[in-house]
Amino acid sequence: MTATAAPPRPSAPAAQRPRRRRSWSGGVIGALGVLGAITTAELLSRLAIVNPDYLPPATEIFADLWRLLGEADTWVALRQTVTGWAIGLAIAMAIGVVAGVVIGSVPFLRAFTASTIEFLRPIPSVALIPLVVLLFGTRPLSAITLVVYAATWQVLVQVLYGVADIDPVARDTARSYQFSAWRIARTVIWPSALPYVVTGFRLAAAVALILEITAELVIGVPGLGRSIGIAQSSGAVTETYALVILVGLLGLAVNVAARAVEKRVLHWHPSVRRSLG
């Protein structure tokens, strides 16, 4: 696995930097940034620097979003999207973790699969759209298949790195106390690889959402993506933007949730832990 660019390694989360002041000023600056972007969009449209037919004023978009949130259809679509995303992600996590641990722990399997993985991983999942349409049409299964395909690589590759990153001294310790293979997997390999698993989860969660929306938009699988397509083709420009923002907010929520999971699971990890008191 040397030829291609390495995927992102587990990033050290922001925890090592001074925390309280950063989040305060960071929060304020971030909020100002959002406000600035909205104001700019508003002005671009109001001053007709950009044709308002293509970019309605931000205030109108948000008003429309508010209206959409009051409609049952929006929530149905949101639920469909989240369901497809979650099922696909869960399957990808299961496959990625199990395959990663097994392949990573057996040197022969690792060498045996390395080239295959390197070949399959760069295939963009959207290239599989014709195939899944042929197989499943516009059923949710189409989207789930794409999500699983795309997200599994993220998890698998991270888990492979994680298993390779186990401290040899920890491994020797386990061996010298004659831990069984199962106990080594549970008490040494799994916790060592966990930071990578969590990173894989975070990357996979984002990719899964992209693929879910893509499938809905392109194939017509029910969900927010299809709603966007419908709004766009019926000329409801403001609604299209509003739905896009809704999807963006969903993406934000996914990322925040993944970060929270990371912090919880890795409380002992150098990137997260703080001294007592």
């Binding site: 020797d172 010298s176 106390y177 004659q178 990890h269 007592l276």
Partner: protein, 289 residues
């Protein structure tokens, strides 16, 4: 080399040797170890042969990089030998053997950071099949022995280096091994704690009758603790001298260390280690490292 011929004879009459060799707990027979890396080979151990009787306490000293850790890992069945064999209780060591505990030089990395101190010590006991109550008792006793009872629920990374080292020792002690290998286990503790731990090792050794191999840089410590001190040469390593420590078995930090015989032995080992550093090999020849 009487060992070599003995080994050839072995192969013919395997069963005969099994009974004949049970006198020594640990039998290191012409062990050789050469590390082969990508384009780099390091001959760490050229040839080492010695025996350790059951229940003996043997210290190993030698210059840094001499191959002490390598030797220990070979004895623990964690490294493949390039030649020779290690025999434990009559059985050749091919993987980590039963009833052996190792305190690694990299004590910090040998503790699992995702577990508390108690869980770290408990885990090998679980693997051994001890019940919950027995485990709790063993962990408490081991922690009390190293003076870390209050830290039972801390994570290793919340402790100082010396405390981590004591946790690693407690884990090995709680395991009640029949052979205990320790690789510079007191390197990170202060002098006072060190003296206490030395006495702890000696009392445990006496109480449990465990065979102990103790690697150290500290010549005083080697003489104070050991019944024998093996002095290793520079790399590629051979045995420079096997020094018998003929001090009385009852040892005491003050009186033993001030005894004239202790001074003589220490002086002797010191000279040997100095000579080893300068490249002295057995037989008097000096080899450039």
């Amino acid at each position: 080399m009487p060992m070599k011929t003995a080994r050839l004879a072995d192969e013919a009459t395997e069963t005969a040797t099994l009974t004949a060799e049970t006198k020594a707990a640990l039998d290191v027979r012409s062990v050789q170890k050469t590390y082969e890396g990508q384009g780099r080979t390091v001959e760490a151990i050229r040839e080492l042969t010695f025996e350790v009787g059951p229940g003996q306490l043997v210290c190993i000293v030698g210059p840094s990089g001499a191959g002490k850790t390598t030797l220990l890992r070979c004895m623990a069945g964690l490294l493949e030998l390039s030649g020779g064999e290690v025999v434990l209780d009559g059985r050749p060591v091919t993987g980590p053997p039963d009833g052996m505990a190792v305190v690694f030089q990299e004590y910090g990395r040998s503790l699992f950071p995702w577990m508390t101190v108690r869980q770290n010590i408990e885990l090998p006991l679980k693997e051994k099949g001890l019940g919950k109550a027995a485990r709790r008792e063993a962990v408490d006793a081991a922690l009390a022995a190293v003076g870390l009872l209050e830290s039972a629920d801390a994570h290793p990374w919340q402790l100082s280096g010396g405390m981590q080292q004591r946790v690693a020792i407690a884990r090995a002690v709680a395991y009640e091994p029949s052979v205990l290998l320790m690789d510079e286990p007191f390197a990170a503790v202060d002098a006072q704690t060190r003296a206490e731990l030395e006495d702890l090792v000696r009392s445990l050794w006496k109480r449990l009758g465990v065979t102990v191999i103790f690697v150290t840089h500290d010549i005083d410590e080697a003489v104070y603790l050991g019944e024998r001190v093996l002095v290793l040469s520079n790399r590629p390593t051979v045995l420079l001298e096997d020094v018998a420590v003929d001090l009385p078995p009852e040892r005491d930090q003050l009186s033993t260390r001030s005894a004239p015989r202790f001074g003589e032995l220490r002086g002797h080992v010191y000279e040997l280690v100095q000579a080893a550093k300068l490249g002295q090999r057995p037989g008097g020849d000096v080899e450039e490292p």
